[in-house]
Amino acid sequence: MSTTEILFFFLSAMAIFSAIMVLISKNPIYSVLWLVVTFFAISGHYILLNAQFLAIVNIIVYAGAIMVLFLFVIMLMNLNQQHEPQKGLWMKLAGVISGGCFMMVLVSLVRQAVDLKSKEALTFGGDIGLIKNLGRVLFSDYVVPFEITSVLFLSAMVGAIVLGKKD
């Protein structure tokens, strides 16, 4: 077992475990924290795949900004004390089963896919994930969507203000 594989399996196990913990934590704050762990694991994967820019952004934006925002909101609402009411057992079971089915069918699809058999994701190689390369493409080929996201942000900003303001 190579280092890559060890790393891969470790990160994967960590991601899945923490994701499951997000799911089963009763306290929302724990959920947030476990989600942060998941994000870190995913960032690890990015690094493994030599996508350094995304790994950083993931940590800064997701684990940093977004999760903090979540934390703020939860604390703002003072939910950490609350014991979240649980869904009925049947609903939970149905959720798990249907989610499981979803995974089952897709996994079985992938297992049948012959054209994926020999394909591998390049780990540690290739430098497209470096900030220089990405930036060049982003500001040439992808400048239009980049600009357009500004509209998205603008509207999100307006929305957040409109909805969040007390009146």
């Binding site: 899945i16 996508a51 995304l54 909101v73 009411p85 989610g99 992938v110 994701a121 390369n133 909805l163």
Partner: protein
Amino acid sequence: MPIQYYIYLCLALFSIGIIGALTRRNVIVVFMCIELMFNAVNLLLVAFSKMHLGMAAISDKASTVGTDGQLFVFFIMVVAAAEVSVGLAIIVMLFRNTHSVDINFLNRLKN
């Protein structure tokens, strides 16, 4: 790494996200699960991007195939950030009115 491993991993994370969205009652947790789904997709995109690069690199060492996949992840993050701000605003607004974030209480509109 074989690409299937990545796909399985991502599908697992994605499905966990779905299961979370289906089983939890706290709106914020549901929302977080959706974020988890996004992240699963992100990882998958990066893996695919590297897969395509790997295939192209056999013939062309300087290939930049796969850049678009990583950029897509970037855009997803952007969108997710915007969505989170709006989403949390909505949740806060609702909480102000009902003092609850229980998804099961969202049942005034039905039938």
